[in-house]
């Protein structure tokens, strides 16, 4: 069991990489597929991206672009968890076009951490990074829930920030209802 207790902490950590890569649009796709018994997670951004050489070593914990400490653990942790649960891990990236991180896990694997507090993760991404838009799609079998913060920004305009208490409560409620409506394992 790695240092993260649920998968939504992994997702938040990978999303932070996109923030540092000064992305403006973030895609998060989750698919809980009981038929194929597979849970797939994809996080794509339009950030700086990486060159081929960097891409080759990115899964090495000692490789990081940050200056504040000598290790980059986010990606290796997700890779370890995915492969520990009979799944796969893959990163594709190109300079200037952004990066996409894909992980799959066996849905019913006994060691698979739960999705956990997905609502909290999405809120932190949305509210904590006003300059980034998030398109979130979550499928459970044949039911889907989509959230696109661009719709919110259109209505709110530049004057009202997403961390305004009433807006925050609205977003939390929307995510909660969405997750419950598709019957996701994640906590509403």
């Amino acid at each position: 069991m790695t240092v993260f207790r649920d998968l939504s902490q992994h997702i938040l950590d990978i999303a932070e990489n996109s923030v540092t890569a000064s992305a403006t649009l973030l895609h998060i796709d989750i698919d809980e597929n009981p038929v194929d018994d597979q849970l797939s997670i994809a996080i794509g951004d339009d950030g700086r991206g990486m060159d081929a050489d960097m891409l080759r070593h990115i899964a090495d914990p000692w490789v990081t672009t940050r200056t504040t400490r000598k290790v980059g653990l986010g990606i290796p942790f997700l890779k370890q968890t995915a492969e520990m649960c009979g799944g796969t891990f893959e990163i594709t990236s190109a300079l200037g076009q952004g990066t996409t991180t894909r992980a799959t896990l066996q849905l019913s694997h006994i060691d698979r951490p739960p999705l956990g507090d997905l609502n909290g993760t999405l809120l932190c991404i949305i509210v904590g990074n006003p300059m980034i838009d998030l398109v979130y799609q979550h499928k459970v079998a044949d039911r889907t829930f989509v959230l696109d913060t661009r719709e919110f920004r259109e209505i709110l305009g530049p004057e009202v920030s997403l961390s305004d208490p009433e807006v925050f409560a609205f977003v939390r409620g929307t995510i909660g209802e969405g997750l419950a409506s598709i019957g996701s394992e994640a906590l509403p």
């Binding site: 069991m1 207790r5 006994i110 060691d111 951490p113 739960p114 956990g116 507090d117």
Partner: protein, 161 residues
């Protein structure tokens, strides 16, 4: 299925959804619904942010927590030395004979589960067994037949015999 998970959620709320309460939660869920199903374990794992393997490893460690459904009546015969010394063996055989199932099994009609328990502290009146939560002491093959009949009788006439 929904209400089983609802009761599980209720118990988690009482004890708090953190890892320290795992043993208490598992014991109480097992007590309320007779056994611990995979769905209930997954719900507990999800609420406590734990992988299913951790919940399964703790649940399978403790003997009072059953991972399979048990019979309507659960007989737990004390298999420890003090009861053994005063004739536990004959009572053991009488139970298997009377219920028609070996120890550790549940009858096909789901009526009876015949399990063992370690010492329940009633050695002064050994051999001892528990049927559901009632304790019966000073057992011998004859008394076993009477007690089982009473519980069976209870079924047919629906009242206390």
């Amino acid at each position: 299925m929904e209400d089983v998970l609802a009761t599980t959620d209720g118990i988690i709320d009482v004890h708090g959804a953190d890892q320290e309460a795992l043993v208490e939660i598992l014991r109480e869920v097992n007590e309320v619904s007779g056994h611990l199903s995979r769905e209930q374990m997954q719900r507990i794992a999800s609420r406590l942010s734990l992988p299913l393997s951790k919940v399964y490893s703790v649940a399978s460690f403790y003997s009072l927590i059953s991972l399979e459904p048990l019979g309507k009546h659960v007989v737990r015969f004390c298999q420890d030395a003090p009861c053994h010394v005063v004739g536990g063996q004959q009572v053991w055989e009488a139970l298997e004979h009377e219920l028609g199932i070996p120890f550790g099994a549940t009858s096909l009609d789901g009526e009876w589960s015949l399990l063992t328990t370690s010492c329940i502290g009633a050695c002064a009146v050994g051999p001892v067994m528990m049927v559901d939560s009632d304790i019966h002491g000073n057992l011998d093959p004859q008394k076993v037949r009477e007690i089982i009949a009473r519980y069976r009788g209870e079924e047919r006439s629906g009242g206390i015999v």
